[in-house]
Symmetry: D2
């Protein structure tokens, strides 16, 4: 059994909706268990994130998919505080060879989401993870309609999270989850 | 009189040492006043940064130079929390046409500092700022010895801040400060 | 009189249409002359671009706006060959303090255009140029509808260049041209 | 038997030296055959690269490691022309799930090599490839002394290719080759 963790911060619920879609996709892969891990801002004191349970669950995961809103051109401050808290794992090389992926949500079609996805891939590369993006060009039924490749992008502004990101974006998130889960399962089985 | 603010977060004092060099360079330009604004982690609650004084000082500045350590491949969580707190200024277009620049410090020669500098430039672009990097290729006496262009890079690991970043890196920071200050002063004078 | 050059490569005419809009915007600024410089693939032999006239026109320009389609996640090969041909200017520091900007066109809303814009800004930073992006958040009448900040993005697939990029994208290009031209004129006047 | 292709362009021989080290590392993995594919500038006419043999060899490969000098902040023009020539494979989704990696060489320690590595990862993401960087933090005997993670960086200026990149950089390249080869072999065996 391979485990894929979807670790995300959501400010207004849109990234949470996307995270649920990503976890749904990952969990649909046979032999894969998906779990959602929400970054809780209450765990941040003086800009430092502390939550051993989340770190230990990632330790035990074969795949990790990061999710964050795009705020001001990159991940949210809360997500960045979480990233800093992974430094000890980095130093111990604890997450080498885990399979990584990412998704992000912001109000514009582009909205510098590319920057956020690459920032999350950069974290994964520092950890020695293996990176899996989308494998689809923009296609039928709006799949990957925003045309990202490093991961999945969703669009949401002031609408309630029930409405945005829309179905096409969530299906794109599901596809990302499935894809990361498949690679994680394969690599675990070898 | 033009004002250039050097807004930085420093974890162990190395980025502070670099910030002081940058501010020194900016302040040496005739007709320019430089000020140092430190991001205090105590101003972050639940991942949200609140400090109106700092935001208002930037409102009143003609140039803004951002400084952060590179942690796990981008700016520190604390700096990112500060960036999120500029969203209202973004919406009101309050910082359009300010002159921006950046510097960062980490332990390796590259150490993904490029990522951090571009992340800070991305913030500035979202604000409609005008970006000024270094104008020097790696040169004599170690100036820009690490070979960055989007801003200034310094190197420091576990050494005390009195020793690292070294003199060459600090001189590079001074050059960045002078350059941003000169452009800010020129644009203000028109 | 300040001169702003719009240097572009266009494969199918869409980037040319955008370039004309950018040049129109730049030329509307009082005291600014805009000129279009097309990269001709015939000037590339064995992957090396040679055309002294274009390089000398840029030498004589106060602002330079780069334009390229986004092909496979970055600028076109032809544009990259042109960039390599600027190495001698880089070494002589000939383009320091020129004002730079960029635009790109591809078929998707995002389509990794962010990557292309940052690649062009990276070139400008290596030359010691001053970077000017868009100053507008996505707004009325579709201005900056794709939500880029490092420069202007246009969308065009297989439609003829008369139809795509659309009017909103071209107006966004005009706004970029005006903005770069204004900063170039101001800095020249000091 | 898995095949890993090392596809590179080298201007002065430094990137070739690095490519040979990368291929050596890849070929050391049991069950993996490494092959070197050099981009020949003579195959570029009017900025278009044409060489079906190289594309077909990549078609038949399980892993692909891209190598290029960093020129003016990104890959060489010749490499970019080759990238454009992969568009048909992109459209047909022919390279989905291949394992990708990258290395680059330039004269400075940083020298914007991060930009080049991310540009090559962006290409791979557009193709739906799986990305493998280095798994090592800067360590003993100079391994990854320049501190890159998205791939391997080498340093070389005007020295002859026998001298630069140095042994540490080439060992870093070997490690990258081994790592990409191991992941490619594993995924092929499932």
């Amino acid at each position: 059994m391979a485990t894929v963790s979807v670790v995300y911060h959501s400010g207004m619920g849109h990234t949470k909706a996307m995270a649920e879609a990503v976890a749904k996709g990952a969990g649909e892969v046979e032999g894969v268990k998906a779990e959602l891990l929400a970054i809780d801002p209450a765990d941040i004191t003086d800009g430092r994130f502390t939550n051993n349970d989340i770190l230990e669950r990632i330790d035990a995961s074969d795949g990790v998919i990061f999710g964050s809103p795009t705020y001001m051109g990159s991940v949210s401050g809360q997500m960045e505080c979480f990233f800093d808290a992974t430094a000890e794992r980095w130093y111990k090389r604890a997450w080498v060879d885990k399979v990584g992926g990412a998704f992000t949500v912001s109000s514009g079609p582009s909205g510098d989401k590319f920057s956020t996805l690459v920032r999350m891939a950069t974290l994964a590369m520092q950890h020695g993870m293996i990176w899996v993006g989308l494998d689809m060009i923009p296609g039928g039924e709006g799949l990957n309609r925003l045309s990202f490749y490093f991961g999945a992008g969703g669009q949401a502004g002031q609408e309630p999270p029930e409405e945005a990101p829309n179905e096409a974006d969530k299906k794109t998130g599901e596809a990302l989850g499935r894809r990361v889960a498949e690679v994680a399962r394969k690599l675990k089985s070898v």
